[in-house]
């Protein structure tokens, strides 16, 4: 290796040959010429060998399959040998040319691969676009200590072959570091451990699941996919031999045998020594007997999980796990031994499956999901497996199950749902049954809730759309925060570690903060952004909560026990509310349980009015210059609207006809409102409420998250908010429940409050209108309020 290369100066495996020349060749990209290097000089030989093997296998198969018809004569095939030699020679020459004209650069600035003798091609991949970097070692390359680097970016895969093993794994580590957005220099990576010929685990890798060869082979022999063709072959063999007509059956037997061989190749040889490991750069899979493949699992691209169990695996408690990964378009569940695979675990015990699923779907509570059976009458259509049909969901995932010979469970996170389809054939119509398909990107996962009752099918499909929408919005907000920068994420991870928790314990997140569980009594709230505002708000909230500590109003209130700053992230430790989040509870409750709970939600909202305000009169309790007092309700609320309107004014003028008139009307109406001021939470909505089990059923027992909207103003604002924000909940009957709750509130407080609820609809419509950029659902809701 020449000294002109900036990357590294020593090649540990230089015994296999040195890089001849690294004279800078003009690259296609603009800029000063940079020293580039070629792949390993043994590359053409390895590739030539692979061509030879491919031809040999192809020919071999031809000979075997034609053996049945005509007499096989070895001598007649001798002429093939010189032809074969010429083909291999030509392939070698082509390989040499291709190697000679391949140059690549991997340094601190760029990743570029130039190829082509006549038609030059230069591929430059931005580090951030790299989705995974895999190392593949085909047998021939492995013998020479070489490896192929496979770079996945977008929908294209770029291969760089062959490099010495040490170099390949060093590049892999470097590229993955860069792909995660971390700054690193390739010079720093010299000391790392490198992939070996038999395993490929770096120093920081910690194996999660290892599949022993015994178990792999046993599971294979017991798998349905193997037993069925075996049984068929044996039946054919026995019956044809018994009748003495074996030659006639060869036509059927040979393709069957070839299929079985390729199954062995994929399932046993390809999955040999399967290890799922956790590396500092995410999950990594290494596998293969002849071809050693090392593949990273991009967690954020996982679209769904399929767990399957063959009939004979059941007594042994074994499962197989496949995942949908976005962009692995060709992965239909069966992958060749060296391409990127959708297999997460070829065979594993329940504990190992749960361990792996915890990494792939962090923070999901898959066991807590109640599964429902399809109705009994489904047996007329699915007589072969009607008792296995199940489906269920919670606020983050949907699960469907089916199958008896191979039991399959598909898990789809709501945020990954693409579209939903209800299907019904003529027989199903007679039985009033329908199927609901949840579409996910291409891959092994195919979630179908089979044979549901008509009405349930429709509810499931429509509510799934709502859940998917809510999950998308949440994920988008989450991502917007992650975009802040990986340094922040790093800081957050350290902060979480300091409190002995991790991202897996996330309880929820909103526009301002993320909340993580610490223990039974406390949660950690990490505020978004690095600016002063959240710190200020939290300090104000802390003293406000503190002042209410001695006040008993009948519901739990928030309490901040500690605030601080770590690594530039501002956090607070809050008292944990008892019970469950009301919003997620609503999604899983039926109407008979929802309605009493909603009444208790209204009761809890009204309790808030009893809180003492730190200052008298209409005032703003949180924010810059707070407490800030105003003469009238109208003045206070106009002041509250100033900020949001500044941002959304031009949008509203476009989207709401006669918005000026709506604005004037709102002010006119607010001026007429005569009321004594009381504490207004400002954001009483199910995500901020907590529900616990009481003797007579579930009851809302706490309201948290007083926000920058906290005021001393019209107490009806919270009653109105409790009613109208309910419309934004992501379950199907939310609008109906909101209308019902409004009727309850009107019955309680008198006819004329219906009018004031409408007034506050417009107020909140203006107040949240600056959400147009981040939350289209909320913005659409605002437009509806303003156009009423």
């Amino acid at each position: 290796m020449s000294a002109s290369q900036p990357q590294r100066t020593s090649a540990p495996e230089s015994s296999t040959g040195s890089h001849t020349d690294a004279t800078p060749e003009p690259a296609l990209t603009v800029g000063p010429p940079k020293p580039t290097e070629r792949p390993h000089p043994l590359t053409p030989f390895v590739r030539g060998w692979l061509v030879f093997v491919a031809i040999a296998i192809g020919w071999g198969r031809e000979i075997v399959s034609s053996a049945g018809e005509n007499q096989f004569e070895a001598r007649g095939l001798l002429w093939i040998l010189p032809v074969l030699a010429i083909v291999v020679l030509l392939a070698g020459i082509a390989g040499f040319i291709s190697w000679y004209f391949t140059r690549f650069v991997i340094d601190d600035e760029e990743l570029r691969i130039d190829t082509g003798a006549i038609f030059k091609k230069s591929t430059k991949i931005p580090f951030e676009r790299l989705q995974s970097v895999d190392i593949v070692q085909p047998l021939a390359a492995r013998i020479f200590g070489l490896a192929e680097l496979r770079l996945d970016a977008g929908n294209s895969t770029t291969k760089l072959r062959y490099l010495t093993r040490s170099k390949a794994s060093r590049f892999r580590d470097y590229l993955l570091t860069r792909a995660h957005g971390h700054q690193a220099s390739i010079r720093d990576l010299d000391q790392q451990l490198v992939a070996g010929a038999f395993t490929d685990l770096g120093a920081g890798d910690h194996p999660l699941v290892q599949v022993s060869p015994q178990r792999l082979i046993a599971s294979f022999l017991l798998s349905t996919e193997w037993l069925i063709p075996t049984a068929i072959s044996i039946i054919i063999l026995v019956s044809t031999v018994a009748f003495g007509v074996l030659p006639f059956a060869l036509g059927a037997l040979i393709p069957l045998l070839i299929g079985m061989l390729s199954l062995i190749w994929r399932r046993v040889i390809g999955m040999f020594n399967f290890t799922l490991a956790e590396s500092p750069r995410g999950l990594r899979i290494t596998r293969g007997l002849t071809n050693l493949t090392s593949q990273s699992v991009p967690i954020n691209r996982v679209q769904g999980v399929k767990t399957s169990q063959s009939l004979l695996w059941r007594p042994l408690g074994w499962y197989r796990v496949d995942i949908d990964i976005l962009g692995h378009a060709d992965s239909d569940g069966e992958n060749s031994e060296s391409t990127a695979s959708s297999v997460l675990l070829p065979v594993a015990s329940l504990d190992e499956v749960q361990l792996a699923l915890g990494r792939v779907l962090p923070g999901f509570d898959l066991d807590g999901i109640a599964l429902y059976r399809s109705p009994k009458r489904a047996r007329w259509l699915r007589w072969f497996d009607f008792w296995t049909l199940r489906y269920g969901w919670d606020d983050r995932t949907l699960i469907t199950e089916h199958g008896w010979i191979t039991h399959v469970r598909d898990t789809v996170p709501h945020a990954k749902t693409q579209s939903v389809r209800i299907e019904q054939g003529p027989l199903q119509r007679l039985l009033r049954l329908a199927d609901v398909h949840i579409h996910t990107p291409r891959g092994p996962v195919n979630a179908v809730a089979h044979q549901l009752d008509n009405q349930i099918a429709r509810e499931l499909a429509l509510s799934q759309l709502d859940r998917a929408r809510a999950a998308r919005v949440a994920e988008r907000q989450h991502r917007a925060v992650e975009m802040v920068g990986s340094d922040d994420l790093q800081g957050e991870a350290e902060l979480l570690a300091r409190f002995g928790t991790s991202r897996d314990d996330i309880l929820g997140f909103g526009g301002e903060s993320e909340v993580f569980a610490l223990d039974h009594d406390r949660v950690l709230r990490i505020y978004r952004g690095r600016h002063e505002a959240p710190q200020h708000t939290a300090a104000q909230l802390r003293s406000l909560y503190e002042s209410w500590r001695a006040v008993e109003i009948g519901i739990e209130l928030p309490l901040i026990t500690d605030t601080g700053e770590y690594n530039g992230r501002f956090y607070s430790v809050d008292q944990r509310f008892s019970g469950r989040n009301f919003s997620s509870w609503l999604q899983s409750a039926d109407i008979a349980r929802r309605r009493p709970a909603l009444i208790s939600f209204l009761d809890a909202t009204e309790c808030l009015q009893r809180l003492p305000s730190p200052v008298p009169g209409f005032s703003r309790l949180i924010g810059d210059g707070a407490p800030q007092q105003f003469g009238t309700l109208g003045e206070l609320l106009s002041n509250m609207l100033l900020g949001p309107l500044q941002a959304s004014r031009s949008r509203l003028e476009r989207d709401v006809p006669a918005v000026g008139e709506v604005w004037n009307r709102l002010h006119g109406e607010l001026a007429q409102r005569a009321v004594a001021p009381a504490v207004v939470h400002g954001d009483v909505c199910p995500p901020n409420a907590y529900i616990s089990q009481a003797p007579n059923g579930p009851v809302v027992t706490g309201i948290g998250d007083f926000s920058p909207h906290t005021l001393n103003a019209d107490p009806l604002m919270d009653v109105a908010g409790a009613v109208i924000f309910l419309e934004l909940e992501p379950y199907a009957d939310a609008p109906a429940d909101a209308a019902w709750l409004e009727a309850v509130a009107v019955e309680r407080h008198g006819r004329d409050i219906a009018h004031w609820i409408d007034v506050y609809r417009r107020y909140y419509g203006f107040y949240f209108s600056n959400a147009y950029a981040v939350d289209p659902t909320l913005y659409a809701w605002c437009l509806r309020q303003l156009s009423r």
């Binding site: 691209r301 679209q303 976005l326 990954k416 693409q418 579209s419 939903v420 389809r421 209800i422 299907e423 019904q424 054939g425 003529p426 119509r429 329908a434 398909h437 579409h439 996910t440 990107p441 291409r442 195919n446 008509n454 009405q455 099918a457 429709r458 499909a461 429509l462 759309l465 998917a468 929408r469 998308r472 919005v473 994920e475 988008r476 991502r479 289209p776 659902t777 659409a780």
Partner: protein, 163 residues
């Protein structure tokens, strides 16, 4: 029954009546042409024209069945643009209702083949990251098709979310 495939609180928009005319025409023409090829070959080759007669009779039966279903099939199509998603329903024997969230649309295509153009029709196809989605609305007037495409593209951008 109807309620399973009804749009939630909206009215279905239906296809252009010209689409029915087009389907009637194709039902009348396509099966006889397809069946005539084997019928003529059999007749010429074997001289047993009664076999050809049977094949033609089969073609006539198929034409009648298709004509009987054309109106129902045309009427079974419907679509509706909701706030956050597009619903499409169709099917007489095998019914389906598909809902595609605007935020998931990756591509909206307007297609119009020569026959559709002759009838003044176009179809709109929606693609998401899932190959199973397969949402397509045939038989729209071209104005409506382009309006729908522009509207869906606009909504798709407004609701867009990563995968």
């Amino acid at each position: 029954m109807e309620e399973l495939f009804a749009p939630p609180a909206y009215e279905w928009k239906r296809l252009s009546p010209k689409y029915r005319s087009m389907r009637i025409l194709t039902s009348l023409i396509v099966p006889p042409i397809i069946f005539s090829i084997p019928a003529v070959i059999v007749g010429v080759a074997s001289g047993r024209w009664w076999i050809s007669g049977l094949i033609w009779a089969a073609a006539v039966v198929i034409v009648i069945i298709r004509l009987a279903f054309v109106t129902r099939s045309w009427r079974s199509w419907g679509y509706v643009e909701r706030e956050d998603d597009l619903y499409i329903t169709h099917g007489v024997m095998f019914r389906s209702l598909i809902a595609v969230p605007y935020g998931r649309m990756q591509l909206v295509e307007v297609e119009s083949g020569p026959l559709e153009r002759a009838f003044g029709l176009a179809s709109v196809a929606l693609k998401t990251a899932s190959p199973e989605t397969g949402a397509r609305i045939p038989g729209l007037p071209p104005d409506e098709a382009t309006r729908l495409r522009d509207r869906l593209t606009e909504l798709g951008e407004a609701h867009a979310s990563g995968l």
